[in-house]
């Protein structure tokens, strides 16, 4: 009775036929999973490997329930994950979503996300690290602990670095309290690979290594449109074409950070649009206020030689 308040939310166990067979199709539709996967498809643009992995986890949950109903062992699998990928490929965004996803699938009890970096885990003097790390772990219990740029935890150049202590505590909890929390490590691919090489314990305790691919050009355009929609803007038809050109041109230039570059570009387009409307003065209407025109896109420096190109006007 009291257990009910503690156990993860789970759908009712499927009915079992007399001969002990189960209809998986019916089981699948009965659970919230199909509806949930559709949401996910709509929410996240591109990111095929990520969606595939979430699909696997969801399927495993349904199968786990089926196994449970037939009296087979249905232990929850380890769900610790590592997200690797280039800047702006959605690692942090997906991690934020992952907490809700795992909660909806019934893997974690509370579904909150505690996002930390090295500073939150590693102390400044001897004896400071363990309480600090444990405190964070306690806060993350029942949810997801997201460690951004996890490779900073390990500093091989300083053998007395306290990061190692934090790593040991993390590993211990990841191993012993798998039911209580899910740990997600995120970072750029090459540095994460080096981090795992020097900490084999981590690699083996993390079952899911998900690599975030770079976005395709059309995906980035779709992302820009989604961002605009969320902020109550829209692109005119010509602006959309200009946007596609922008993405192609921006990719060839240095410091390209996938969706993050697009978000920054979108923010600058909004500024240009505001200035244009402001300068134009006079009457305006809803349509003008929400439309980004071709001019707003084409004014970008990306079309005139990139960020490195000399700027017109005096240098102050």
């Amino acid at each position: 009775m009291l257990d009910a308040t503690l156990s993860a939310p789970s759908a009712a166990l499927p009915a079992r036929d007399a001969d002990g067979t189960l209809d998986l199709g019916a089981l699948f539709t009965e659970s919230e999973v199909p509806e949930f996967l559709a949401d996910l498809e709509a929410d996240l643009i591109g990111l095929k490997p990520v969606k595939r992995r979430i699909r696997e986890i969801a399927a495993h949950l349904v199968i786990g329930r089926a196994r449970e109903s037939l009296g087979l062992n249905a232990g929850a699998p380890t769900l610790h994950m590592a997200f690797t990928g280039n800047p702006g490929t959605g690692k942090t965004t997906v991690a934020l979503k992952m907490a809700q996803i795992l909660h909806r699938l019934g893997y974690v009890r509370r579904g909150h996300l505690v996002s930390v970096t090295r500073d939150d885990l590693v102390g400044q003097y001897i004896g400071h690290t363990a309480p600090k790390t444990k405190e964070i772990l306690k806060k993350a219990m029942g949810g997801v602990l997201f460690i951004d740029e996890a490779y900073y935890l390990y500093r091989p150049e300083n053998e007395r670095d306290y990061g190692q202590e934090a790593i040991e505590i993390l590993l211990q909890v990841m191993e012993n309290q798998r039911d209580d929390l899910v740990v997600i490590l995120a970072g750029y691919k090459d540095r994460m690979d080096r981090f795992f090489e020097s900490n084999p314990g981590f690699r083996s305790r993390i079952a899911h290594h998900i690599d975030f691919p770079d976005y395709e050009d059309d995906e980035l355009v779709a992302i820009a449109k989604t961002m605009a929609e969320a902020a109550d803007y829209r692109f005119s038809a010509e602006a959309e074409q200009a946007l596609a050109d922008y993405v192609t041109a921006r990719r060839a230039q240095p410091n390209f950070a996938n969706a993050r570059s697009i978000r920054n570009a979108f923010d600058r387009m909004r500024l240009r649009q505001s200035l244009r409307l402001f300068d134009q003065g006079g009457l305006t209407d809803r349509d003008a206020l929400e439309t980004l025109t071709e001019g707003d896109v084409r004014a970008s420096r990306v079309f005139s030689g990139g960020i490195d190109a000399p700027q017109p006007g005096p240098v102050v």
Binding site: L2, D3, T5, L6, R109, R110, H112, P131, E135, L137, K138, K139, M141, G142, G143, Q177, D180, L181
Partner: protein, 134 residues
């Protein structure tokens, strides 16, 4: 002598599952939960030893329960209690407090009788563990 105090003092000792459920309730109310221990469970003893700081911003009872178990393992022969502090303005007090461990053998209290001024008799209760340790 079985000492009872705090919330649920009229009930049998809570099981671990029940403790977790109570702690979860506290966390859902937004109370800060702390763990304390003592070898002197005198009802007038307000100053139990703190097992670490009160735990703020927790979402799940598993974190608190880990601390309860750590405290039990360190002091298997002492009293351990859980407090939940409500910081809401107007309350600002402990809302829930209950025992989660008692020693296997409880010593109970002994009555001390002393003579005061003018041959008046004064009485004091003292926990035996305290007395015998000296």
């Amino acid at each position: 002598m079985r000492i009872t105090q705090g919330t649920f003092s009229f009930l049998p000792d809570l099981t671990d599952t029940q403790i977790k459920a109570q702690v979860q309730y506290c966390l859902e109310q937004g109370w800060a939960v702390s763990v304390e221990y003592t070898d002197d469970p005198h009802p007038r003893n307000n100053y139990w030893e703190m097992w670490g700081l009160p735990m703020f911003d927790l979402k799940d009872a598993a974190g608190v329960f880990g601390e309860i178990n750590a405290c039990r393992a360190t002091f298997p022969n002492q009293y351990v209690r859980v407090n939940a502090f409500d910081s809401t303005r107007g309350w600002e007090t402990v809302r829930l407090s209950f025992l989660v461990q008692r020693p296997a053998k409880e010593d109970g209290f002994r009555l001390d009788r002393t003579e005061g001024p003018g041959r008046t008799q004064r009485y004091a209760m003292r926990h035996r563990a305290q007395f015998e340790a000296r």
